[in-house]
């Protein structure tokens, strides 16, 4: 084991899979000469050359569409979108091609594709601060992974690249510098398995990606007041593994979902509905949801700071729930 950043963990996963399978190639804006907007693919252009590291024009519909076609044609492309916001430009390719082709053609065609894209924010204003994971998780035919730790990011990305299915792999710009334990030896992690990141008996906090860290911070603080939260990291948003969530709710009888996206029609709504249907008897309180304020992201810092749940507001919510 050694301490590695989320960025390095992702880079290692990409590099190992590139070395392992020459059908893997990377395409996207600034992935080559620049070395990746968030420096994930730094050094790859000189190591793997311009046949496997493809700098593209600014045309996300062509990046994803070409990657889908290349996947159909026997390659295993990893398409990088500079940020998830630009996935909107490629939405038709993702929704109507990547996610449909296998089913629509009676399983004759496979699309072994990974689309990597970071969510994130930081005074980037309304069009550059979004994450949309619920939109992608809405789609049958697509796998959606949203890792929160270096360990999970590496293990899940390797599996995603080896998968014969299209995978939306959503990273977070604010996690790239976060460090965590990563094994030195080769490993992979299964897609579709949620993970208990902190055991507890009083309240279940369900989260993923950056909000996982907020949830863990809140749990830490609450523990000093004798409130023990169980923090569950979904890691994969589709398929959704509810088993650890159900097991937890049976114990705690209370759950809150903390997401970074808007809560309206979001992941929390889905999880709350499933808990409500499948563990209604276990609940002592309504399932709560926390997420960003239901407005477009403003630029001004003082307004942006009001947008997301933080450790303090999550802790407050949990205190209310147990009061």
């Amino acid at each position: 084991m050694s301490q590695k950043t989320y960025r390095d963990a992702i880079r290692e996963a990409l590099r190992e899979e590139m070395l392992r399978d020459e059908r893997v190639l990377i395409m996207g804006e600034e992935v080559g000469v620049w070395g990746g907007t968030y420096a994930v693919t730094r050094g790859f252009y000189s190591e793997f050359g311009d046949k496997r590291i493809l700098d593209t024009p600014i045309a996300e519909e062509a990046i994803v569409g070409t990657a889908v076609g290349a996947a159909m044609g026997g390659l295993r492309p990893v398409a990088e979108l500079m940020t998830i916001n630009f996935a909107l430009v490629a939405m038709d390719q993702i929704v109507n091609n990547a996610a449909k082709i296998h089913y629509m053609f009676g399983s004759q065609v496979r699309v072994p594709l990974v689309i990597r894209a970071p969510a994130g924010w930081g005074q980037l204003a309304a069009t550059h601060s979004q994450s949309f994971e619920a939109w992608f998780a809405h789609l049958p035919g697509l796998i959606v992974v949203m890792p929160g730790t270096p360990y999970d990011a590496k293990g899940l990305l390797k599996t995603a690249i080896r998968s014969d299915n299209p995978v939306m792999f959503i990273e977070h710009a604010r996690l790239y510098g976060v460090k965590g334990e990563v094994p030195d030896e080769e490993y992979t992690l299964p897609i579709g398995v949620s993970d208990v990141k902190r055991p507890g008996r009083d309240v279940t906090i369900v989260s993923y990606s950056r909000m996982l860290h907020v949830a863990l911070g809140a749990a830490e603080e609450l523990a000093t007041a004798g409130i023990e939260c169980e923090v569950i990291d979904l890691r994969t948003l589709r398929p959704l593994d509810m088993a650890p969530v159900y097991a937890s709710v049976e114990k705690t009888h209370r759950a809150v979902i903390v997401e970074e996206d808007w809560t309206t029609c979001g992941m929390g709504a889905e999880i709350a509905a499933r808990i409500g249907r499948d563990r209604f008897e276990s609940l002592d309180a309504p399932v709560e949801r926390m997420g960003q304020v239901d407005v477009p992201m403003p630029y001004a810092k003082n307004l942006e700071e009001l947008m997301f749940p933080d450790e303090k507001s999550v802790a407050e919510k949990v205190r209310d729930m147990v009061a």
């Binding site: 700098d55 024009p57 996300e60 005074q123 407005v295 403003p298 001004a300």
Partner: protein
Amino acid sequence: MAATSPSRVSASDTAGIDVTGAEALDWFKKMSLIRRFEERAEEAYGQGKIGGFLHLYIGEEAVAVGAMAALRPDDDVITHYRDHGYVLARGVEPKRVMAELYGKATGLSKGKGGSMHMADVKRHVWGGYAIVGGHIPLATGLALANQYRKLPHVVACFFGEGATNIGTFFAGLNLAAVWKLALVAIVENNRYGMGTAFERVSAVSDVYKKACAFDIPAEQIDGNDVLAVRDAVHRMVERSRAGGGPQLIEAMTYRFRGHSMGDPQRYRTKEEVEEAKARDPIVRWRRTVLTSGLAAKTDLEKIRDEVEAEVEEAVRFAENSPAPDPSELCSDVLVSE
């Protein structure tokens, strides 16, 4: 050259100067204002007073200033996110632009938009847009509205060469051509989209040639020559206004700074940047103005002092303005009806 086919028009600093002394000074002032304004914005960014992305226009000032000089005040302008130059060239008060960069309530967009989203609709500036190419169909739509409402306005749509490989470029301009709309696309070719040299990712790297896909007139011009820009935009805009349909201008220029703050610029050499700086549009215009006797050195010095004072005033205004009230967070999501 035939106006109906894409052409390359060479411009030179001395070719038939058709400009008054007052115009010459106005352009010098506006270009200097943009330059100084952005240098101060860069400083404020370094002090953490401005956040997010800050895409500087330094080196490209002649395009905005020349183009605005050719447009009527009620012609419509819509731009990409490297947009400080356009609003300043349009005559928007620098203090309101600086306040927007500072995220203050007194900013052009109430502090909600920031650097990439400058709009001043009363001056027919319909905003800066940050999804590459996303505003090109909007320009087509604004021009459709003008045509439908029988308004004589031309739409000027600004974007970088990097935006000419995305679907909206082709779809937007095609429709403008089909409907013969009054629209001029002004492409600032500064040679790089972030760190990608245009010719590495564009099958056709002279943007003006792409106009043949829409069968519309196009010219490639020296974008660092403010007069050449004014003249070309004037030609194109008036032809479009007279019913000639959309037109395209490729203004060749160069950005002296990185793509945004913190760009290590590994994709180009220092020599290349230095060489480009030798074609600095402000220095060139200054030289032209002086050698042609359009103005005296003292006039230009006076302007430099005025610009300095205006920019300082803008910074002071931004610093002293209030942040948006927290209640602003949830206002204006929908028009209240």
